[in-house]
C-alpha cells in the first residue's frame, strides 16, 4: 500500500486536503478522546515516488503521545494485513534526537520546545486533520516512509566537532578552571540533540544552528582553544557541502526542541571570519 499516492485507507473516505483545524487552543472533547484524521506520507524507498495516505483515527486518548498514536495505527495496519508505517523513534523522552516528523508543516509539531515523542494528543482538537511528513531536506534523503538519513550531521562532527584528547593523556580536571558563565553558555549550546528540526524548518535547509551549537560548545571553553580555528573552518565548510545557506529567518530556533539560541549562529559566523584569517597566518601565507 505504500506509495499509493493520495489514496484512502479506510472505508472509502476521500483524501483530505486541509491542514489541521487546530487553532492553538485546547478544545478537548468531554470524553477525553479525540476523533482524528491523519494524512501520512508513505514512500517505499529513497527513489520511490511517495504520497499521502489517509487514516481515520477514532477514539484517540488525550493521554497518548503522538508516537503512540502512530503505534496504534500500525497495530491496526498489521491486523488488517497491511504494512506498518516506518518512523524513527527511540528514547521517547525527548533526549536521543531520533524522532522527527513534520506535523502540519512544523518540525516536531506546534508545541514549543517539544520533540514529537513528548507531544501529547491533548494538544490537538477533536476533528483535526493532521498531516504527517518526513523531515524534508536534500541532505536528509528519505529512507522509507517517515524515516530519513541524517548522517550528514555525523560528517559535520567528524570534521572537527571534538577536542583531540586521547584517553589517559590528561591531568587532574580541576587544573583547568572554566569560568561558570562560559561553562553555562557552553552547556546551552551543548544541549542540542541532533534531531535535525532546525534543518527541516529552514526554508533553505541550512544546518547553521546545529553546526554553531557544537562549535559554541567547544569554542567557548578553555579546552577547546587549541583547535578552535581549524575546527571552525573545517566544520563550516563540511556543513556547506551538504546544506543550504543561512538567511537569518530564525525558523530553526523556533522549531528547536531544546531552544538553542540564534546567537550561536552569530558566534559561529564571527569565528569563521576570524578562522579564515588566523588559519592563513598559521599556514604562513600572510
Amino acid at each position: 500500500m505504500s506509495g499509493t499516492n493520495g489514496q484512502s485507507q479506510h472505508n472509502g473516505q476521500s483524501q483530505h486536503n486541509g491542514q489541521s483545524q487546530h487553532n492553538g487552543q485546547s478544545q478537548q472533547s468531554q470524553s477525553g478522546t479525540l476523533n482524528l484524521t491523519l494524512r501520512i506520507w508513505r514512500q517505499d524507498g529513497p527513489d520511490a515516488k511517495g504520497g499521502f495516505v489517509t487514516f481515520d483515527a477514532p477514539g484517540v486518548s488525550e493521554d497518548m503521545s503522538f508516537l503512540e498514536l502512530l503505534d496504534i495505527i500500525n497495530e491496526r495496519l498489521i491486523d488488517e494485513g497491511g504494512v506498518p508505517i516506518e518512523f524513527d523513534h527511540d528514547c521517547r523522552e525527548g533526549i536521543c534526537g531520533t524522532c522527527s516528523l513534520m506535523i502540519n508543516g512544523r518540525a516536531h509539531g506546534h508545541e514549543v520546545a517539544t520533540t514529537t515523542c513528548q507531544l501529547h494528543m491533548r494538544k490537538f482538537s477533536d476533528g483535526d486533520v493532521i498531516t504527517v511528513e518526513p523531515f524534508r531536506a536534500k541532505a536528509f534523503p528519505v529512507v522509507r516512509d517517515l524515516v530519513v538519513d541524517r548522517s550528514s550531521f555525523d560528517r559535520i562532527i567528524e570534521a572537527g566537532g571534538y577536542i583531540s584528547v586521547n584517553t589517559g593523556a590528561v591531568g587532574d580536571a580541576n587544573l583547568t578552571p572554566v569560568p561558570k558563565e562560559a561553562s553555562d553558555t557552553s552547556f546551552d549550546a551543548a544541549a542540542c540533540i541532533g534531531c535535525g528540526a532546525c534543518v527541516a524548518a529552514c526554508p533553505n535547509s541550512a544546518a547553521q544552528l546545529f553546526t554553531s551549537a557544537k562549535l559554541a560548545h567547544l569554542n567557548l571553553i578553555p579546552q577547546g582553544q587549541p583547535q578552535r580555528w581549524e575546527r571552525t573552518e573545517s566544520m563550516v565548510e563540511t556543513m556547506e557541502q551538504f546544506f543550504g545557506s543561512c538567511t537569518n529567518h530564525g525558523e530553526c530556533t523556533e522549531a528547536c526542541p531544546k531552544e538553542i539560541s540564534l546567537d550561536f549562529i552569530a558566534f559561529m559566523n564571527r569565528d569563521y571570519v576570524k578562522a579564515k584569517i588566523k588559519n592563513r597566518k598559521l599556514a604562513g601565507q600572510n
Binding site: D88, D90, D149, E158, A173
Partner: protein
C-alpha cells in the same frame, strides 16, 4: 574463562589496593607498531562501546564499530539524568577510593566481585579528568572548579553532573572521540547495522553476523576479538524507562554461542516514574529521585477511594513510608520505596484513573518555602510531568509508580572483562560485573566509561599479544557462511509464520508476565507460574506471529521480532535464576525470605556467589555454574533503614 569446568575470574593476587596497578604491569603488551595488525569489533556505541572503540583506535588497533541506531549519539546512555560518581574528594568531605569501593560493594548487597569494584573506584578518578578535558560541560562553581552533589543516599558529595543531562553530555563526549577516530580512518563505523550472531571458530570468537537494517543484507564481519557493549535487558518488561530499541539480542546470541549469562534475576526497579495511562503506553518516564527529598508519598487509607486528592482529609491519608520507616521516611532506598508502593497498590489503595500509582505530594513544601523556591529546584521536572500527564503538580500531587530502570545481570565476565567465550568481551550494562544485586545512583555512567576508557584497552592487549601474526578468519570461511545461513533462515522464519498477532502484542503480553512474577517481589509459586506461562506464550508467538513486509528493506517489525524472540528465552532464564536464588538481595526480593520487618534477608552461607548459566543447544535447561564471592575488605552486614 572456564578451566576444567570451574569458572575462573582471573582475579590477580596482591592486596586490594594494588591489584590493578600490579596487574597492569604484569599483563603482556602489544608493541605500538604491532597494534595495527589487530582488528577488533565493537558492537554498540553507547558510553561503553563508543569510549572503547575510540580508545582502542587511539592505541592503534583497527576497529569496526557497529550500532543499530542511525548515529552513535542516539544510544540510550544519552537519557541518564543524575550524574556520575568519582572518588575525587573535591569537597573535602572524607571521600576516597576505598569509600567509593565500600559503598558500591555494600550498595550492591554483597553480591559483586570486590576486585572489580575496587578497580572501578580507582579509575573513577581518571574518568572525570578525561571527560572534563573532552569539554563535557559539567556543573561548575563560580571559581570555575567542578561542582559536586550527593546522590543516592551516599554520605559524601561525589557526584559530578551536567544539569539533568549528564548521560547526554558524557555520551556526546565519547561520540565525539569516536567521530575523531572515524575521520582519521581508525574506526570503520557501521550505522543501522544490527548484530544477530556471534561467530566462533575452534571455541574462540572470530566475528559477528550483522543485518543491514536498510538494505536487509546479512553478512559476516571477522576480527581478532569481539567486544559486546550492547546495554541492558530492561525492555523484557515491555514497559520500562529503557528506550524502545533496547534489547538483549547481541548478548543473548553470544550466550547461545557459549557465553555464560549471569545473575539474570538482578533487575532494578526505580521508584519514581510516571504511571502508565493506558494499554497503549509504550514506555515509562523516569522522574529524578531527587523529588523524594521534598515530596511526601501517600495513598488514601481506604481502598477504592475515588475522591480527588484535595478532598481526602489528612486523617484519611496514609503516609506509609513515614509510618513504617520513621528514620529514613520518604528517602528509603530504591528497592524499599518500590516494594512498598506495590504493596499499597495491590491492596487497592492505588490512585489515578487506573488506580496504578501513589501520590507524591509537594503541598507541604510549597506551603513552607513557597512555589518559587520549589520551582527553582524542580521546575524542569514539574514541567515534564505536566507535559506528559496534563496535570499541574503545583496544584495537586503527582502520581508515581515504580518502573524497571536497569539490569545488573548480564554476560558473565572475568577480571579482564572477557566472557566465557575466549576473544569475546562484554562491557558496560551488558555485562554482569560491578553492581552486584543493586546498582547505586550515578554508578552506571561510571562503570560504562570505566570499562571502555580505562579497563578494556589494557586487558584486551594481554590476550591479543599472544596472537601476533594470526590472521583474521576470512569471511568466506565455512564457520562464517554457516552462521550467515542460519541468521538468514531465522529471518525468513519470522516472515513466513503468517499468523495474526503483531510483535508488539506478544511483547506486551510477555511483559505483563515478567512484571507480575519476576518484578519487584518474587515468590516460588509466582516464578513457577511464570515458567509455565512464558513457554506457552512463546509457543503461540512462533505459531501466530505476523511480521508484514519483507527482509529486503527497512522493516522495524522484523527487527523487533528477533528481539522479542530472545526476550522469551531470557525471561525464562530470569524466572529460573530467581527461583534457585532462595534469598532476597538488592533488586531480587523473594517474599519467602524477609526479616520480620519486611526487609530483604540474604543467605550469605548459601548464596554469596554469582550464578552463571550455560546454554545448551538442545531443549535441556541451562546449567547453573557458580563463582564464589569472598568479602575480604568489606564485612558482610544487614541493611536497615528503620
Amino acid at each position: 574463562m572456564v578451566m576444567n569446568g570451574v569458572l575462573d575470574a582471573r582475579v590477580p593476587d596482591g592486596t586490594m589496593a594494588n591489584k590493578w596497578t600490579d596487574h597492569k604491569f604484569s599483563m603482556k603488551l602489544v608493541n605500538p607498531n604491532n597494534k595495527r595488525r589487530f582488528e577488533i569489533i565493537v558492537v554498540g556505541t553507547g558510553l561503553a562501546g563508543a569510549s572503547a572503540a575510540a580508545s582502542l583506535s587511539e592505541l592503534g588497533y583497527r576497529v569496526k564499530a557497529f550500532t543499530f541506531h542511525d548515529s552513535p549519539r542516539r544510544a540510550h546512555s544519552i537519557a541518564a539524568q543524575g550524574g556520575i560518581n568519582a572518588a575525587k574528594n573535591y569537597t573535602n568531605d572524607g571521600d576516597s577510593v576505598h569509600r567509593l569501593f565500600y559503598d558500591t560493594v555494600k550498595g550492591g548487597d554483597y553480591r559483586s566481585r570486590e576486585a572489580n569494584v575496587h578497580r572501578l573506584a580507582e579509575v573513577s578518578l581518571n574518568i572525570i579528568d578525561q571527560c572534563a578535558a573532552q569539554g563535557v560541560p559539567f556543573a561548575r562553581e563560580y571559581g570555575g572548579l567542578l561542582d559536586n552533589r550527593s546522590f543516592g543516599g551516599a554520605q559524601v558529595s561525589r557526584t559530578f553532573y551536567a544539569r539533568g543531562q549528564t548521560g547526554q553530555q558524557l555520551l556526546l563526549g565519547a561520540y565525539q572521540a569516536l567521530a575523531k577516530q572515524v575521520a582519521a580512518g581508525g574506526v570503520e563505523l557501521y550505522t543501522r547495522t544490527e548484530m544477530l550472531d556471534l561467530i566462533t571458530k575452534d571455541g574462540r570468537a572470530c566475528g559477528i553476523v550483522t543485518r543491514d537494517l536498510v538494505s536487509g543484507e546479512i553478512e559476516a564481519h571477522t576480527a581478532h576479538a569481539v567486544v559486546l557493549a550492547t546495554g541492558g535487558y530492561g525492555n523484557v518488561y515491555y514497559l520500562s524507562t529503557n528506550a524502545m530499541a533496547c534489547n538483549v539480542t547481541a548478548a543473548w546470541r553470544a550466550h547461545r554461542r557459549g557465553a555464560f549469562f549471569a545473575n539474570a534475576c538482578y533487575t532494578q526497579i526505580h521508584p519514581t516514574c510516571i504511571p502508565a495511562s493506558d494499554e497503549f503506553q509504550s514506555k515509562l518516564t523516569l522522574m529524578s529521585e531527587s523529588l523524594r527529598n521534598d515530596g511526601r508519598i501517600w495513598v488514601p487509607s481506604q481502598m477504592d477511594d475515588a475522591r480527588p486528592a484535595g478532598q481526602i482529609p489528612e486523617p484519611e491519608r496514609d503516609y506509609y513510608l513515614e509510618r513504617k520507616y520513621p528514620a529514613f521516611g520518604n528517602l528509603v532506598p530504591r528497592d524499599v520505596a518500590s516494594r512498598n508502593a506495590k504493596t499499597v497498590v495491590d491492596q487497592g489503595k492505588g490512585v489515578g484513573p487506573l488506580r496504578n500509582g501513589v501520590y507524591l505530594d509537594f503541598s507541604e513544601v510549597i506551603g513552607r518555602e513557597g512555589k518559587d523556591a520549589v520551582a527553582a529546584k524542580y521546575g524542569n521536572l514539574f514541567d515534564m510531568y505536566e507535559r506528559i500527564t496534563g496535570e499541574n503538580p503545583y496544584a495537586g500531587p503527582m502520581r508515581i509508580y515504580p518502573a524497571t530502570h536497569y539490569t545488573m545481570g548480564g554476560l558473565w565476565v572475568d577480571y579482564h572483562l572477557m566472557t566465557t567465550v575466549p576473544g569475546c568481551y562484554s562491557i558496560g550494562e551488558a555485562n554482569f560485573s560491578d553492581h552486584g544485586a543493586n546498582r547505586l545512583g550515578a554508578s552506571a555512567l561510571m562503570q560504562g566509561l570505566a570499562d571502555g576508557y580505562f579497563v578494556l584497552p589494557y586487558t584486551i592487549g594481554d590476550d591479543l599479544a599472544a596472537r601476533l601474526g594470526e590472521p583474521v578468519v576470512p569471511t568466506d570461511d565455512p564457520v562464517c557462511s554457516q552462521a550467515v545461513a542460519e541468521v538468514t533462515d531465522a529471518t525468513e522464519r519470522f516472515l513466513s509464520i503468517g499468523g495474526t498477532r503483531s510483535v508488539d502484542w506478544f511483547h506486551r503480553e510477555l511483559g505483563k508476565i515478567v512484571w507480575d512474577y519476576i518484578g519487584m517481589e518474587r515468590t516460588s509459586a509466582g516464578l513457577e507460574k511464570a515458567l509455565s506461562e512464558i513457554p506457552a506464550l512463546e509457543a503461540e508467538f512462533w505459531a501466530d506471529l505476523r511480521v508484514p513486509g519483507s527482509g529486503a528493506n527497512l522493516n522495524q517489525s522484523l527487527e523487533k521480532a528477533g528481539r522479542v524472540a530472545d526476550f522469551f528465552e531470557l525471561a525464562t532464564l530470569m524466572a529460573r535464576d530467581a527461583l534457585v536464588r532462595e534469598e532476597s538481595c538488592g533488586g531480587h526480593f523473594r517474599a519467602e525470605h524477609q526479616t520480620p520487618e519486611g526487609e530483604a534477608q540474604r543467605d550469605d552461607e548459601n548464596f554469596a556467589h554469582v550464578a552463571a548459566w550455560e546454554w545448551h543447544d538442545t531443549d535441556t535447561v541451562q546449567t547453573r555454574h557458580t563463582e564464589e564471592l569472598s568479602f575480604d575488605e568489606v564485612a558482610l552486614t544487614q541493611r536497615s533503614y528503620k
